[in-house]
Symmetry: C2
Subunit: 337 residues, 2 copies
DNA sequence: CTGAAAGCGCTAACAT
DNA sequence: ATGTTAGCGCTTTCAG
């Protein structure tokens, strides 16, 4: 087990100073082309690998970005991470993963225990019940850039990357209406999250545009899970005048809805239309297959990371918002037959 | 933007030396109880957070563990990571994520560019086509602990954590047989991966135990994707004497199999039984629902990380192997009716 | 039990 | 264009 090689080794071998080596290893700036080549050659020769801790200590900049999100065990988030990882990797950044399990306490504890010296920036998607964003505000105040994606808080002024929730929802509902459904219900996410509000607004706007009545009982706010979808749908179908279509805030809830519809012997599509949001692979596996709004998850990851890297590089942190379009995917669950 | 506080600040405030502060902050060893309390109080007071880069540089030990795996966008891997993250988090370790996209070149490039100074240990699941493990052997030779999980190479002597692939496969096939299926095919993963071999062996063993003939054409090695499952099944059902049951190496392939069976109008369960491996949530969503062997993904993550942390702590690296049991989940796809 | 001092590997003025 | 030197924040001998 040989001690890793350092720039000192290179300096000694080449009989030059460490600062020259250091300079040669980074940009060409102010160093003789030939010296530089010799350094590079020697480095390769002895299999030199920079010690990032030393660099970080000296430059006050690690090459890490922290990612904080509720879960990674679903299609959307794992795809976002893959996108993040893709650009981080290409720029030589590591990503440090923190999963909150959607627990506000855990989120708080993670953020408070973050050593600000161990990452250059933060990418976050909040818990569904984050009542406060004070902890993130603190991080920002320390001048470390934070960009939010998907689940972004509305009380805080930072960079945000989202899908076009309003228009996605609008399109989904309009699709339902143009396929002949009239009593469209919405099983929403938890209140307080920007995107559940946006999707709700898109739903309302589509209803209004097509002169459909807005029935208060037709909107139910609850969790994001399949079980919530089932529960909400039971509630909906027990109404004196049940809806003939359901727009779910995401595919998991839509699938939950389909499950209870099936259990009650209601024919999906023919009797009750269902549309989701995400385009989880499950949507094409379930039968009947589920119409949905495909989210640009991978792109959200890429864009968030690019934005963050930009903030880190320029050391300026002027908030920017990016909204990426979704895409309507028509399948069987919205086919009246 | 105030510079983060350091142990120097604490030392200055308390008018003691930095070394005392340093000692007090770690273990009680050799420091007066009272001094220690004063240090802790002061640290909390000024909101001191250790600079891990400095620690890492001084101690030659970061608090990071690297995780290298093919994908994160599926149920199994994302659940494993959640398990890893769970124990890493509780021990104050960060996890640095690297995804290879199942590309051996990328895997190689990641490993070769790893700065050994930036993590204390490695958790890896290899690419399906990793022909060589030389790059991992190099890491191990540098005395940094590596533990493999799930996709473990068989040519290399290190710690490994796996599900019980042999017995899982055995149980799956035995379940098929005891439900009356006789011509059981196996759509396997790529050759060369330990677990695809183990599952194949389990399949063989069950056949042998029940005196069923081993038909060579009934085993097809290919990829892990749903598409591979579809293609393999086409090939199988085009045989002069097609199988009446399919044991798939994982649920994604099983789902692919079900899709082509459905497309051909073959009744799943009644005519051809299908069983998978993993217990992806999709297995209970698809209809008919898919019987499968549930893998202890979360536990695999936990155990791998615990093992690795053990190696890191004791600085000894005596390879250990852990095998975790799976569980048969009976659903509709293996019901002959 | 505590302090002084050296050093981890690298960067960044400041000289030359 | 290159070398000298002083840190970055923390740990760790070695003295006392």
């Amino acid at each position: 087990m040989s001690r890793p090689t350092t720039i000192k080794d290179i300096a000694r071998i080449l009989k030059i100073s460490v600062s020259t080596v250091s300079r040669a290893l980074r940009d060409a700036y102010d160093v003789n082309e030939e010296t530089r080549n010799r350094v590079l050659a020697a480095a390769a020769e002895i299999n030199y690998k920079p010690n990032y801790n030393a660099t970080a200590l000296a430059k006050r900049s690690t090459h890490n970005i922290g990612v904080i999100l509720p879960f990674i065990t679903n299609y959307y988030f794992s795809t976002v991470i893959t996108g993040i990882q893709e650009v981080a990797y290409s720029k030589g950044f590591n990503i440090i993963l923190h999963v909150t399990n959607d627990s506000p306490e855990r989120e708080l504890s993670i953020v408070d225990n973050l050593s600000l010296s161990s990452f250059d920036g933060l990418l976050v998607s909040t818990c569904s019940q984050s009542d406060s964003c004070e902890h993130f505000a603190r991080v920002i105040r320390e001048d470390i850039p934070v960009v939010f994606f998907d689940r972004v808080p509305n009380q805080i002024r930072t960079s945000k990357v989202m899908q076009d929730d309003f228009n996605g929802a609008f399109e989904a509902v309009e699709h339902l209406v143009s396929n002949g459904y009239r009593r469209v219900a919405h099983i929403a996410g938890p209140r307080g999250l920007l995107f559940t509000e946006k999707r709700y607004e898109g739903y309302l706007a589509a209803l209004t545009k097509h002169n459909l009545p807005v029935v208060e009982d037709y909107t139910i706010y609850s969790g994001f899970s399949q079980e919530s979808g089932q529960a909400d749908t039971i509630q909906l179908m027990d109404l004196p005048e049940p809806p003939d279509a359901i727009f779910a805030v995401n595919d998991r809830k839509a699938i939950g809805a389909m499950l209870t519809l099936k259990a009650r012997g209601i024919r999906i599509g023919k009797e009750v239309g269902v549309i989701g949001f995400t385009d989880d692979p499950m949507a094409s596996i379930i039968s009947p297959s589920l119409s949905t709004i495909a989210e640009p998850a991978f792109e959200i990851g890429r864009k968030s990371c690019e934005l963050l890297l930009g903030h880190i590089r320029k050391k300026s942190f002027i908030p920017e918002e990016k909204i990426l379009p979704g895409k309507l995917i028509v399948r069987e669950s919205t086919n009246k037959g």
